[in-house]
Symmetry: C2
């Protein structure tokens, strides 16, 4: 493997000059520049990026921590990160943690070990304080709302409220909700929105937890079927869950939305094919913003960027469109 010292010898210049040519530094005479370029051609030189990384102390790489890469919601954020990273000449490393804390620590350590210049945390189970201890090693940007950290987020409180109010405007008073991991930041905000919005009508047995997948949705549907007092509408925290509920109930001969109105969350392809009413979230935008904060200096101010959501009409909340 030829290196810049070989080039310097070949071109009869110093390594400094070679480095200048490589980095387009202006203070190089034309003849020397050409001599170096000729040497590069002749010896087939290829720059060793690892050496650059060590020398500059930067890897031009951002790490992404997320529980699963194959959930459409995460994939869409990755998409945004990927786009932005490419444009900026950055790379990104993805770590799938499955919400295992030791795995999350591995990721944080990678920042400390300077494997990456910064970290984007899509979702996590470690406490924010614990994570923020690593901020001394580089920027950490959350894709969730955290008041004392850089965060790009959607307001799950108002987003959920949007869904609930839509159901109320369709004269539903008996409304249930589905949540994912019950103690996650997002779930807490959603639960709060539920309690505040339906207030007197809020019922603990109408809060279905641990609902993340299509199968979980089917479980929810069966739980609903077994209840003596059933809500007439359910707002879910993901299109997958909404899909599971709808499929299971249709299977059992129930009609959507006549027997149960359902609203999804995400605005995924599933919502398109099932014509779900859903709270659409621009995940790609979240990824883009998170990335650009991670590579700028602005992260030090812990900027808060709220990304708006929109209610997208389908036919699962009401045959008539929700206005």
């Amino acid at each position: 493997m030829t290196n810049i010292r070989d080039l310097a010898r070949e071109a009869h210049v110093s390594v400094t000059t070679v480095s200048r040519v490589l980095n387009d530094h202006p203070y190089v005479a034309d003849d020397k520049r050409q001599a170096v370029q000729a040497a590069i051609q002749k010896l087939g030189y290829i720059r060793n990026q690892t050496a650059v990384h060590l020398s500059t102390g930067q890897t031009h790489t951002i790490g992404v921590m997320l529980p699963f890469v194959d959930h459409p919601y995460h994939a869409a954020i990755l998409q945004g990160i990927a786009r932005c990273a490419f444009e900026e000449g950055y790379r990104f490393l993805t770590w799938q943690t499955n919400y295992v804390e030791s795995h999350e620590h591995t990721v944080l350590k990678a920042l400390a070990q300077r494997e990456v210049d910064g970290l984007i945390i899509v979702s996590h189970s470690l406490s924010v304080d614990e994570i923020l201890q690593y901020e001394q090693y580089g920027p950490i940007v959350f894709c969730e709302y955290h008041p004392h950290a850089s965060s790009v987020y959607i307001n799950h409180y108002t987003a959920f409220q949007k869904g609930l109010k839509a159901l109320q405007s369709l004269h539903h008073t008996e409304i249930g909700i589905c949540l994912g991991r019950p103690d996650s930041t997002n779930s807490l905000a959603r639960k709060q929105a539920y309690q505040d919005t339906v207030s007197d009508d809020a019922r603990p047995e109408w809060i279905y937890e641990q609902a993340l997948t299509i199968e979980d949705g089917a479980h929810v549907a069966r739980a609903w079927l077994n209840q003596s007092q059933r809500p007439t509408a359910i707002l879910t925290a993901s299109d997958h869950v909404a899909a599971g509920i709808i499929l299971e109930l249709r299977e059992q001969g129930y009609r959507i939305p006549e027997d149960l109105a359902v609203i999804g969350f995400d605005g995924s392809d599933l919502a398109v094919v099932l014509n779900l009413t859903t709270v659409a979230v621009p995940y790609e935008t979240i990824g883009r913003h998170a990335f650009s904060i991670a590579i700028s200096d602005s992260w030090q101010q812990h900027p808060q960027t709220e990304i708006p959501t929109t209610l997208k009409n389908g036919t699962t909340a009401s045959i008539l469109c929700v206005k």
Copy 2:
């Protein structure tokens, strides 16, 4: 930032000994080992991975080239790679190329520049020969069949044939197919399977190309509607396209499968919610295999690993299940 020389000074040993402690080398006396560990604690030393990479000439990182990260099919492969990478203590970098050749070159250059130890190519538009020129810099594993390269693949010919034969066994003789990028390796194999399997009934106007997304599926449906001679069944190359066709036709008042039988491809969530008959592909398995080949020495023999597919019954090819 403290480094191993600081540690050596603090612990009154040589840097070599420090390095040995860090790497669990046996030839270190217990007292020295403890002295070093104490120094690590005291000075808060954190290993600089970049220096390790430069020194060892390995990055413990594999690059993944794919056109889009948010397609479920690619996300599932990534999932497999992510799992395997984590288990092996490797990292992976994802590059989204959008099938742009210059972007693909960027990825290949990264291998040459030793940013990654190897490359997994999920899908590409550059020629295989061009890509293989970079094999001198490290392993390159394809997730498609290429006889002269390491590849982990599903046999698109037999997989497609499976779908076609299922339709034939349902007494369809007028069968159309949807393809993605018409000249991709996969499409060529599929086209061949089509021509061989339906032979006399193959019709160029029943080969719908450039069909990749749900919307593309809707286009196909409209094209089908406008044809005077229509196939009675369509085998698609992705569940998205199948979904698009079905939704558009249902919208127009047609019935699936009575008016048109449809079979998808991938075995994605869409297939689940629409109860699609589909050719299920274990993408995660592909990712796992590709990764383990990339980090072993076996790639040099250009191993060929075929991953089997299965036909999954739904209700879009026949009300009765396909046997």
